[in-house]
């Protein structure tokens, strides 16, 4: 976090600056901020004034970054989707910032397209067979549906945004993978209307502009449970038909198939160690090498869970750590170098764990059927919930 978006306002008419966000180094202190204001006001009045700054009603005395850390002002937001048909944005401290409601059915998966700046883009996939692309203004705390991605004929269970943030891929119960554009535009894609659809149903409230898929990848024989981008050209998908398939997005063809013996619930790919981790309906987490052509070679099995493994996630900054969640109410932190037992059992949930994730700063997140979102901090030797 090097730059911070900041907006300056005052009641004194003499020192009013334009009401637009400025990008300011996070390390800047009061003096630096005064210099910025003086620079901005140079045109209006020449003499130099020393300003004092209030951040959310508190005087700024240290550098901006330390102040934000001590006061608990976060710029990292957590996005969750829930069975109550909404998605929510949370701060890392656990304060709900925004409720994104618009789906007519259960939200199955969520993803950030863009998180930097004041306007973020986020995606929600739902059982109502649509994916919604939202624009969220963090400052005004307003959310607006930009696009409604229609095309799936089953519940959209998983979405994943490509590393460049321009495309995303969705996997659905209808056995299809679809690639969509993630760039918000103002045009509506043409959609062929089924002829026999009743006219009156046409005019249901439509959130955002309709968008159609760029590409459809079909090949799975069962529902797609998890999808991710290995890099900007490769999509990897896991399915209930006991396979993990790797697809070439440019050509739309399938490259590799890894065959397992059980239904796959989730996969995760680490660009650091270039391994795929999969969780399946037996209690094992398996590591795969996606580059093997013949496939179906399990490098390592991590066994400690006693229920289905519903979520796995590699650490974003550590090549050997991954976190997993299971139906046995446990979240486990693993190090692949000690494959016999997990590093930590995080027993916070009182019901099934459905999702786990990491933040950039190394915070672990998990959500479960007990309607709670837990964050875990892992620092050197200790973990705390």
């Amino acid at each position: 976090m090097s730059q911070i978006q900041a907006r300056f306002f005052t009641e004194d008419k003499r020192y009013v600056v334009d009401d637009v966000p400025f990008s300011i180094p996070a390390a800047s202190e009061v003096q630096d901020l005064s210099n910025v204001i003086n620079k901005l006001l140079e045109a209006k009045n020449g003499n130099k004034v020393d300003f004092d700054f209030l951040v959310r009603g508190q005087f700024l005395r240290t550098s901006l970054s330390t102040h934000m850390a001590t006061e608990g002002i976060s710029t990292v937001w957590i996005l969750t989707g829930s069975y109550d048909k909404t998605a929510r944005i949370w701060s890392t401290e656990g304060k709900p910032a925004m409720t994104v409601a618009g789906h007519t059915d259960v939200v199955k998966d969520v993803a950030w397209v863009k998180r930097e700046g004041l306007t973020s883009l986020l995606l929600t996939a739902s059982l109502d067979q649509t994916v919604l692309l939202w624009e969220w203004n963090s400052e005004r705390n307003k959310v607006k549906a930009r696009h409604c991605c229609r095309g799936h004929a089953g519940s959209v269970d998983t979405i994943s945004v490509d590393p460049t943030g321009t495309k995303f891929c969705s996997g659905s119960w209808d056995k299809m993978l679809k690639i969509w554009s993630a760039v918000p535009t103002d045009e509506q894609d043409e959609i062929e209307e089924p002829a026999d659809r009743p006219r009156k149903k046409q005019k249901t409230q439509q959130l955002g502009l309709t968008r159609t898929p760029l590409m459809t990848l079909s090949g799975h024989s069962e529902a797609v449970s998890s999808v991710l981008w290995c890099d900007s050209e490769e999509v990897c998908s896991a399915s209930w038909d006991h396979t993990i398939r790797i697809w070439d997005v440019d050509t739309g063809g399938m490259k590799t198939t890894l065959t397992g013996s059980k239904v796959f619930n989730c996969i995760s790919y680490s660009p650091l160690c270039r391994r795929l981790a999969s969780g399946s309906t037996d209690r094992h987490i398996r590591l795969w090498d996606p580059r093997t052509k013949d496939g179906s070679l399990v490098l390592l099995s991590l066994t400690s869970h006693t229920g289905w493994v519903t979520a796995v996630k590699w650490a974003p900054s550590h090549a050997h750590q991954l976190v997993s969640g299971s139906l046995d109410n446990l979240v486990k932190l693993w190090d692949t170098r000690s494959c016999k037992a997990p590093l930590y059992d995080l027993a916070a949930h009182e019901d099934k764990v459905f999702c786990v994730d990491w933040t950039e700063s190394g915070l672990m997140l998990s959500g479960g059927a007990d309607n709670k979102l837990y964050t875990y901090r892992y620092s050197a030797q200790q973990a705390e919930a």
Partner: protein, 656 residues
Amino acid sequence: PVTPTLDCGSSVHSSLVGVDTRLSSECVALGLQRLSSDIRNTVGNIPMEWYKDFPHIGYNLDGKKIYKPIRNKDELDDFLDKMENPEYWRTVHDKQTGSDVVLSDDQVELVNRLQRGQFGDVNFNECEPMVEFFSSDVMIHPVTNRPADKRSFIPSLTEKEKVSKLVHAIKMGWIKPRRVEDDGRGRYYNLWASEDSSILARHKMHLPAPKIPLPGHHESYNPPPEYLFTDEERALWEQQDPADRKLPFVPRKYSSLRQVPAFSQFIHERFERCLDLYLCPRQRKMRVNVNPEDLIPQLPKPKDLQPFPTTRSLVYRGHSGLVRSISVSPSGQWLASGSDDGSVRFWEVCSSRCMKTVQVGGAVKSVAWNPNPSVCLLAVALDSVVLILSPSLADKQVILSSERLLSAQQEGEEPAEGNGSVVWSEAEGEELNQGLRLKIQHPKAVHQVVWHAKGDYLASVMPDNTSHLQVYIHQLSRRRSQNPFSRNKGLVQCISFHPIRPYFFVATQRSIRIYNLVKQEMTKKLQTNSKWISSMAVHPGGDHVICGSYDCKLSWFDLDLSTKPYKMLRHHKKAVRGVAYHRLYPLFASASDDGSVIVCHGTVYNDLLQNPLIVPVKVLRGHVMTHDLGVLDVTFHPTQPWVFSSGADATICLFT
């Protein structure tokens, strides 16, 4: 001069004979000379011609020369002497002294005795009886007290050397072992080789006579006191008929064997024994020596029959009454359950979340998803109504087509009132919002509802022993109901459609009847050998049926094989409540009141000659016994090897 020594018996004789042969005239003369005059030559036993050229012939004891006598006798003198001297024959010449000696009578007698081979001593008795000092008899006082030689008790070294030489020679092949003459071939022949095998078999049928039982403590002359008869026993023994007696005699006790009298029954007992031998049953007892392990058929290990459900993964909680019936949507995404609490719940399979609850107002007996994947409808049986629900848990197209199927009749003509007992009506108002679409009112309580594979027909069961109106087949698109049977064949328990062909399975209490719906006739009747059928499932191939019964049995029928069960499985402890086949995997499951679900592997082969392979693979437990009821229904996931079970404890379990 010659005295026999007594060293050893044999050497005595030989030394005497030796003396006898050596006895030439000079030796005797020497001895005689020694006796008469002590003129002794000391030169020893040398050839006397060495002194030929000397005047003396030797030296006497004093060392004085013994001079040769003046020999002046010539041949003539000798002759004259021979003629004239009567003593000539007993005169011998002594070479050592050179003088002539005349032998006395005793000496002549001795010489004669020796020449005759007799002992020199007249008094010696050569035929004295021999004393055997050295014989095989061991004497108390040994002749010699010499300890035994060492060589008498250690192996002989020379023998050892000799043996080792022979062994080496045999090893090297220098000595060949003696050839054994192979003469057995021609000497004997098989007398019965050409005999008929039946005669041989008769020879083999030798029966040994029955053996006499060995005597026990009763027969002892001094039996332990408990074997002796008490007074009552003796009275009883005497009263009994001899044939009925346990023992043919009374055990008696004697202080010693001497006092035992002669056995009075001996002749009688021998006679009985002869009768035994004569009348012994001439029958061969065929004893079967079979290892019980060999009688168990060779079944593959369950480990090799993966995949099958093994562990309880998810529990679907939410019902408040016992869950009588469950059904999985054809896509495998949704699970519908009907409970005694009057609600039908829809669950998401993978997360166990209840997505929808429909209050139907009555204990739900049976739920069934429409197997057609292009429509999304659920049939629910409660009380005397069959409800058709549209849960709208599918693609919009599917929901639309199912709505169309339900409303197809409205555009058509009036519902054909074939028999007035079944009334079709549409749901209205609040019920419509809940998803209720149609109500089919039956005259009696409906027990079960099943769909045809195409999804247009459904059949319902109203068990009633007194009427022929037990089964109705409804057609959804035309809203028509008909009763296919005109006669009552028994209390109908459950029904099922054939998955492919137009057959209809009806299970009554003890048998399953199969009807051909096109020809409208019964094609087969399966005898289950069980007392009361509870449930039935038809294999997706259509050639096999399993049926569970309240007397804990599960019977598998191969329709091509027989009307009798191919296999009966008695694994459950209590009544079997539900059975199910998997659509794709070779698995079937049975649910029972003992709270367990047993999953079996059942491979069906296309080859008609090969019987199905049935292996029980797993007992799944997850339900709590409630009111003596365990698991009430069981069903498989349509695509995964997972099994759902619903129990009396108001939960549904998913085993994967």
